[in-house]
């Protein structure tokens, strides 16, 4: 599988796509999101797996997003996601609330190819009446035991940033094995990586356990430090100062525009 340019990877996300994104701290595709902003994608339906952070907030602020399904929106220690909150208040973003294990479960149902999967808990939460796509049924194996069923969810596209990829399209995510489920459940998976891996990751016993097979991967682009300002495993730490700067700037329209100009539109325009 030949690597493509970052801009070409971003071009593979059609307007209006249901796009699954892991949050800060979980191989989040930050450079890819900035490339999506430059590409001018519109109408994305984002899925935070299971929550959303910097990447989703940036895409929302840049006007790329029509809707967001997530279990929470927050950035770093600030606990806020300013562009998310602003778009929600302005009525320009349709928000569907979930709870983390429900999003994992919906993806696992897609991963197994079943139309639904049960989940304990959640009953009594107002999430249930606000999710007409969820159903509460009686447990067929025990009388008088109501249980939640959530439907399978197959994102059109999943995107994340991994450590490395080989020529067979295998990508290394290390201990963040949950990324495999996102890839398994999604129709297409686009990956940015720090670097090329010479050889075959699945033929290396030391790397195989942390590798997602190329069978699930559609295209790959190099993007060194592509998770920043989030961190990436033991490769680099999160840039807390940058995340705080973003959270501050994004409180105002002007601040967000200045951030975009400085870090997104111009800075990486050559990438």
């Amino acid at each position: 599988m030949a690597f493509v340019a970052l801009a070409d990877l971003a071009a593979r996300v059609p307007d209006g796509a249901l796009l699954a994104i892991p949050p800060d701290n979980s191989l989040t595709p930050a450079a890819f999101a900035r490339a999506l902003v430059r590409r001018g994608v519109r109408g994305l339906r984002l899925l935070g797996v299971p929550v959303s952070g910097y990447v989703c907030d940036l895409l929302i602020g840049a006007g790329c997003v029509a809707s967001l399904q997530t279990s929470a929106a927050s950035i770093g220690e600030t606990g806020l996601a300013p562009r998310f909150a602003r778009a929600l208040a302005a009525g320009t973003l349709q928000v569907t609330d979930a709870t983390c294990p429900a999003i994992h479960t919906m993806l696992q149902a897609a991963e197994k190819g079943v139309p639904f999967m049960p989940l304990r808990g959640v009953l009594g939460s107002d999430l249930v009446p606000h999710r007409p796509d969820w159903k509460v049924v009686e447990n067929p194996f025990a009388a008088g035991d109501p249980i939640l069923l959530v439907p399978a969810l197959s994102p059109e596209v999943a995107a994340f940033h991994a450590v490395c990829a080989d020529d067979d399209g295998n990508v290394y995510v290390g201990r963040r094995r949950e990324l495999a489920t996102i890839a398994h459940a999604s129709r297409r998976t686009l990956v940015t990586v720090e670097r090329h891996y010479p050889g075959n990751l699945l033929e290396d016993e030391a790397m195989a356990a942390g590798t997602i097979s190329g069978v699930y991967v559609d295209a790959i682009a190099l993007a060194p430090r592509g998770a920043a300002p989030s961190g990436l495993l033991d490769e680099y730490a999160a840039d807390a100062a940058h995340l705080a700067e973003y959270a501050r700037a994004a409180r105002s329209d002007e601040g967000f525009a200045a951030y975009l100009a400085q870090y997104v539109t111009l800075a990486e325009a050559v990438a």
Partner: protein
């Protein structure tokens, strides 16, 4: 001088070790929770045989399947105790992490429910923690329920809130309502009542929340801080200053 955060940490640790509650052999701590994390470390470093699963540990994170593994662990019944908070908390221990106004938060918007809707029902013991203690947070009835404080018979549930620790006091929860258990220094029964939007019982002669004894303070300022530093540098600097004890 004892920092307010140190007292909250000690109060949480005392609740973790409550001899009346089932033993907590495995405690999980979610994202951005420095005070619950410190309380859990304090219990462990005091010599108690407890396993800590800290979701946001930077090195040596115990999970290889991310947050899904935490929720699976709770589903399996392997997490004995978890901490939750809320943008609003009401007298039935319902938690609102959604917001106020119309769904999904057209008034104030809170971050979202995270895993609360699941964890609250799957964990035998939940300690609620919210520093801000005001009528805005502790309300008669939450605007929206992220996670239900109590469940009707028949709903699978392993436990409810054990207690609620705020910046002003400790409430115990008996599965139906809150009881004022102790007052932090500077607070009175009246000041807490004025700051609390929900009804609760108030025994005569509410004790003061005890200060952490010197050996706990030494643990906090030394070994506990050392475990916290990498994940919560800003918190450590604010509470314990820039120099490591």
């Amino acid at each position: 001088m004892i920092q307010p955060e140190e007292r909250l940490i000690a109060a949480l640790a005392a609740l973790i070790l409550d001899p009346a509650a089932p033993v907590a052999r495995h405690i999980a701590v979610g994202a951005a929770s420095p005070i619950p994390a410190a309380a859990s470390w304090l219990v462990k470093l005091s010599g108690h045989d407890v396993r800590l699963s800290l979701l946001h540990l930077q090195r040596g994170n115990p999970f290889t399947e991310g947050t899904r593994e935490l929720f699976d662990l709770a589903g399996q019944g392997r997490i004995d105790l978890f901490f939750l908070g809320g943008g609003q908390i009401d007298g039935q221990a319902n938690l609102n992490l959604i917001g106020t106004g119309e769904w999904p938060g057209t008034g104030a918007r809170f971050p979202g429910s995270f895993g609360s809707a699941f964890m609250y029902l799957m964990t035998p013991r939940t300690i609620l923690f919210r520093e801000e203690h005001s009528p805005r947070v502790l309300v008669p009835k939450v605007a929206h329920i992220s996670a239900a404080g109590v469940s009707p018979p028949g709903v699978f549930r392993r436990g409810t809130a054990q207690a609620l620790v705020t910046g002003r006091c400790v409430f115990r929860f008996d599965g139906a309502r809150f009881h004022l258990a102790s007052l932090h220094p500077g607070e009175t029964a009246d000041s807490v009542r004025a700051a609390t939007g929900f009804a609760y019982t108030e025994p005569a002669g509410v004790p003061q929340t005890p200060d952490p004894p010197p050996d706990q303070l030494a643990l906090l300022r030394g070994p506990v801080r050392a475990r916290m530093q990498a994940t919560y540098p800003a918190f450590c600097a604010r509470v314990w200053g820039d120099s490591v004890a």
